[in-house]
Symmetry: C2
Subunit: 339 residues, 2 copies
Amino acid sequence: MGDGTPATADGKPATIYDVAARAGVSKSLVSLVLQRSPKVSDQRREAVLRAIQELDYRPSTAAVSLAGTRSRTIGVVLDDFRNQWFVDLLTGLREALQDQGHRLVVADRFLNTGLDVSPVEGFLSMRVEGIVIAGEPDTDLAIPASMPVVVAGGRATLPRADTVANDDRAGGRMAAEHLLALGHTRIGFVGGRSAASAERRAGLEAGVAAATSGASVVTHVMPGEPTEAAGAEAVGLLLDAHPDVTAVFAANDVMALGAMSGLADRGLRVPEDVSVMGYDDTPLAATAYVGLTSIDDRSVDIGRGAGERLLARIADPSAPAHETLVEPRLVARRTTAAR
Amino acid sequence: MGDGTPATADGKPATIYDVAARAGVSKSLVSLVLQRSPKVSDQRREAVLRAIQELDYRPSTAAVSLAGTRSRTIGVVLDDFRNQWFVDLLTGLREALQDQGHRLVVADRFLNTGLDVSPVEGFLSMRVEGIVIAGEPDTDLAIPASMPVVVAGGRATLPRADTVANDDRAGGRMAAEHLLALGHTRIGFVGGRSAASAERRAGLEAGVAAATSGASVVTHVMPGEPTEAAGAEAVGLLLDAHPDVTAVFAANDVMALGAMSGLADRGLRVPEDVSVMGYDDTPLAATAYVGLTSIDDRSVDIGRGAGERLLARIADPSAPAHETLVEPRLVARRTTAAR
DNA sequence: TTGTAAGCGTTATCAA
DNA sequence: TTGATAACGCTTACAA
């Protein structure tokens, strides 16, 4: 038993009744044992635990959350499973939530938890106790005002939601310091139209301005999605206009990769001719083949922070919305070099 | 309403009772409307639907699955969220299952759906109607014999489980044909100890043997995990032993990437000096910067097939275990060229 | 410390 | 076509 044997004679999973009968006690006693109540005699407890083993009993989550006062479930909405950064985010969320006895249910925009319109619909049906929005929240998520929400890794366009995000401006400043330290004086920035991109650029410019090196920044912002192709195109336009650029900071790793292939197309070597750095420290950047210098947004810590915030908000729903910025970290690799 | 307003006066979500009262009908009638029963008068139906709208009512999944005969839920076990191929697999699974009214719940080895030891534990508690194992199944998953299971994208080490997987041997053969057509006669293989790797190699060798070109294959199999580092090391050892190799086929894209960086370390250019190809057609391979020729294992189709198989097994639990092989597809990119 | 009994929000089975 | 009413498997007062 315990090895996956069907539970009761009729093939259906065992219930608390079956356990009670087998252990010779009442259902309530079984329930108490399940909840690790201290006021159960060792003798009974052991009898119950033995019956549970023998019957391969497992409480029905449906019954538990229906009968109980809490569902002990947290919903996590991902913008897209293809964005790898959620892996680290989940790790952090788990640390903060799962270990506190909460179940995590993950859904992306498409993986509706049923036949619902949005993932949030499904979560509301499940009576989750709180929701984590990973990334930029869709504006029309229709979350009830009473539902505790925290936005992790994106600006809160949602009212009354807590936020835990990477400090993009600080990251931009770090990029500036890194490139200035390497002796670059003409720095290019390529990015998109997102708020994060704008912040990163602002940080870069602030960092360069703060230095006394006389260095300067030129930028090219692309409309549309921040894709690899956009990065390649942007770096081409940037170099056409400013051939003296020796270092390029991209708003994210994907665009940085595009910049690298754009540079290769022009016969420019990285980092000998031009240094390149990205943002997010994706697995892609970390491969030896790419070896992209990047800014680590510390998703694990963002996840942990978001989980803690959510717990705090569940405990005190009326607390004012709180915004936490996580300090990023520069990871130097082979794509940046002294000039 | 419908915009996320709390439902009832006391802030708790509306129940079927609230809807019934508001619409002036019995709870049973509301339930019938919910189930799209045809034997409800249009008048009543509209009254009920209006009440649902006004109260922002949403059925409790807990109550539904407790009272109903089926949970309409399928559990998906991923080996690791970091393996991107599951994204496509999920797309296929959704097509086959979600559209049939099934809810998909995803868990990886770490994201336990609760405080359970394994993700399967959580699924059993949720009373899922079937389980999809994505990738190589852990041997000690302890799934009850009565639970419908299909292994998607891995060899079934599980008894009585259906399997839907990529035809690794056919993929290896395709690699052979591609490289032979480009004129390569000395082909290297680098791989790991997995069954998939062995099959891919076997396919490569069979493909080369079948040709009359007089080409040959030399291989280097690494112990341990099939990482980028392993790929780099393997290609180095391979070239030390066989400097005349002009094309390398790696058992997967990650090792192929390693091979590319290993070749770069030796000052060899890809594809001018050595052609490289991988397997899995990961997003990494598809980037313009990497542009790796690879074998697409068609995960979307595997997912769809797995979903369909699972439905078939749920319908007929006693059917014999079935194995489906999906024909892979070669995707030529810039890392392979004529010699 | 243990048992009894009343919910929790649905579906399902009957009658009406 | 509708409405009572009994499950479903568990938690939680309240009693004992």
